[in-house]
Amino acid sequence: MNNSVTNSARLLGAALRALLALTLVTGVGYPLLVTGVAQAAFHDKANGSETRADGRVVGSSLIGQQGYSLAYFQSRPANGLGTNSVNTQYKLILSGATNLSADSKKLIASIEEAKAKVVKDNSTADYRVLPSQVPADAVTSSGSGLDPDISPAYAELQVHRVAERNHLPVGTVDKLVQDHTEGRTLGFIGEPRVNVLELNIALRELVEGR
């Protein structure tokens, strides 16, 4: 009995020392090494791909923003975002999805509402949007709630509204969208997309530089 207790204690001691040694390798050495390389070689990316406009930081090109006025291109809905409830000295955005199921009444209602709003907002005096034209990404929330992109179809849909509100020719805004449409990587990886923040920065420059 006594012997087995000593043996167990010895084994647990060895296990603890193994954990501490491996913590040094994988929990201290490894992250510091990667951070060193990252900060030296990819400084901007390692710190969040901050994007500047008019000399100030206006966000990250990777993190989608909400609350654009109708003069600008709109992001996807983000109904899954939360605010922090634990460490409330910060006002962190909590990434997340709605997690509503494909047969959820709540999800159906929110999609109906979003669709009606997209149709209404984007129909101008000489351009009518049909509900069937509204792409899926315009009325659904993304996985992170921080999707920086919209589909080219959703961007196209907004061109007439944006042109009208900014008193720009439709063709000019259309060209802006074309220029900011990124195709699939190597032609087949992922989906074509338009980065909303970068598009809106370019739009503002166009409007202000006129």
């Binding site: 060895a14 951070t35 070689a41 000295q89 997340g96 997690n99 999800l107």
Partner: protein, 554 residues
């Protein structure tokens, strides 16, 4: 090019990349686990541990070392979270409460990475990098060690010895996981994943005002999270978060990392048992199931049945534009057929049948290709069962790799495959029968039931993904999923190691004309069938109540 074709091409590119890595990595791992020499850094660690890496262990000693190391890991991680409030470098985040600390500690040590917390508001730098990420490495290394011990059981004869746990643990970490993860982390940073130790970042927004982000060692954690089939995200949105998974390329790269070691271990197995064709037969089994499930998932997600998705015109709820339906489908199947549980899109909002596929993927026991290590030992147990069934058909004593599958071997294997279904189904039933646990469900009806079934299936199989609508941060779910993860991880290991010891002690039986040729396609077919029928049918009634009911109604 349409999105379906692009999805298929991504799948083909992924298969090509995995095929290129298969032989070099598989051979490398076989050399690592068979090498006589020790690296200098390894010698330092052995000296610190006070263990002789060249002493062979019998299975009870090997098991005791696995359990001791894991127990210490749980206690250490628990204390780290409980003390977070007073640790420097924690961004001023408070300590985590006891039930959640227990759940999270168990979750990361068991390679599950079920998360009942929001990463960005709960865990500071120290807990993330020196606690959670460390277990991402070592829990994967433990899985690989146990798998290699079982392989040695098949490869060795007339000895009860199955290797040295400390040597297997340290080598797996230092020679396999750390080098690959370091390269992968740098690739992720180059594409935009963040890697810094700054505090909370406050930056301006386009329309005015400001937003706050977490800084952190995200890329380094992301790399091992996928490579070690762990799955615990730095952020709540996991691999859907742009800082974890910034581009379509990183998405495909992360899927590659998830599948890399589990597939390549079949090569390691083949080399170590002296017949790479035996490894190919196991590989073919894993590959068939994986490709089949990916195809099914793409089909159901692209057709997007379900009233909400029909109304929206596509299954984009819970999915990112840059990944699209194709990339998200490949990720979802790969993460649930391994023990990863990372998500780049939210399974709860998939079509009813798509959600069912993620559930069934986990229910198969995560063996196609399965977790790092756990996938290999899981499928070898199924191979033993398949050989036994074949033996029954022709009335011969079954053999596998020159070892007799006698009463002891088949009992150990049979108990192994009963553990996880028992845990998942009993705890789901208890949760539905008790008055308060169902209050955690976000959705109602069949989908609500699926949320609970998914939670316990995920925990018992050490997956860690979720139908995340479920509010799992209650004492009931924190405790019960914690217990499911512990028993679902370590009870099977007991039987695997006992089997390894039993096989290693046998004398080999020479192959005769009547021996079942387990390196042939016929055996692969038999094994696929055994996996689908035995484990699939165990869960059929539960699946019928949840995802099948939802999928057929829409």
């Amino acid at each position: 090019m349409g999105p379906v074709l692009a999805g298929v091409l991504q799948l083909l590119a992924l298969i090509g990349a995995l095929a290129l890595a298969y032989i070099p990595l598989g051979n490398h791992m076989a050399r690592v686990y068979s090498a006589d020499r020790h690296w200098r850094v390894e010698r330092w660690i052995y000296r610190g541990v006070g263990a002789d890496p060249d002493t062979e262990m019998r299975w009870p000693a090997y098991l005791r070392a696995v359990l001791a190391f894991s127990l210490v890991g749980v206690l250490f991680l628990y204390l780290l979270q409980r003390l977070q409030g007073v640790l420097p470098g924690s961004l001023g985040f408070s300590s985590v409460n006891p039930a959640q600390s227990f759940n999270t500690a168990v979750s990361f040590v068991t390679n599950t990475n079920w998360q009942s917390y929001y990463g960005e508001q709960t865990m500071g730098h120290v807990v993330q990098t020196a606690g959670l990420a460390v277990q991402n490495f070592v829990s994967a290394a433990v899985g690989m060690a146990v798998a290699v011990a079982l392989v040695r059981g098949f490869a060795r004869s007339r000895t009860g010895e199955i290797g040295n746990f400390w040597a297997d643990l340290v080598r797996g970490t230092v020679r396999i996981l750390v080098p690959v993860a370091a390269v992968a982390a740098v690739v992720l940073v180059a594409c935009g994943a963040i890697q810094n130790f700054s505090g909370i970042h406050e930056v301006g927004q386009f329309m005015g005002g400001s937003q706050q982000w977490n800084g952190g060692a995200v890329a380094s954690q992301e790399a091992i999270k996928e490579l070690g089939t762990n799955g615990g995200g730095y952020f709540n949105a996991n691999s859907a978060h742009p800082f974890e998974n910034p581009t379509p390329f990183t998405n495909l790269f992360e899927i590659f990392l998830i599948l890399l070691i589990p597939f390549a271990l079949t090569r390691t197995f083949g080399v170590m048992v002296g017949s790479v064709r035996q490894g190919y037969a196991i590989l073919a089994t894993m590959f068939t199931i994986w490709v089949g499930f990916v195809a099914l998932m793409m089909w159901t997600e692209f057709t997007h049945h379900g009233p909400a998705l029909q109304l929206a015109g596509g299954a984009m709820e819970g999915k990112e534009v840059r990944f699209g339906v194709g990339g998200s489908s490949i990720f979802a199947v790969s993460t649930t057929l391994t023990s990863t549980g990372a998500v780049d899109s939210f399974h709860s909002s998939f079509t009813g049948l798509g959600g069912g596929i993620t559930l069934l993927s986990m229910m198969l026991g995560e063996i196609a290709p399965g977790g790092t290590g756990s996938g290999l030992y899981g499928i070898l147990i199924m191979a033993v069962i398949a050989v036994f069934i074949a033996g029954l058909m022709v009335g011969r004593t079954p053999e596998y790799l020159g070892k007799k599958i006698g009463p002891r071997e088949i009992k150990l294997s049979a108990v192994y495959i009963l553990i996880t279904p028992a845990l998942a189904l009993v705890l789901t039933a208890l949760s539905m029968a008790l008055p308060t646990p169902p209050h955690s469900m976000l959705n109602s009806g069949a989908h609500g039931f699926s949320e609970v079934l998914y939670a316990f299936t995920s925990a018992a199989n050490n997956n860690g993904s979720a139908f995340a609508g479920l509010n799992a941060n209650t004492d009931w779910f924190n405790t019960m999923t914690g217990i499911a993860m512990l028993l679902g991880r370590f009870l099977p290991m007991v039987f695997v190691l006992a089997l390894a010891g039993s096989l290693a002690g046998q004398r080999p039986v020479p192959a005769t004309a009547g021996t079942l040729r387990t390196e042939k396609p016929l055996f692969t077919g038999l094994l696929v069938g055994a996996i689908l029928i035995i484990t699939g049918l165990t869960y059929f009634p539960a699946l019928a109540l949840g995802p099948l009911a939802e999928g057929l109604a829409s």
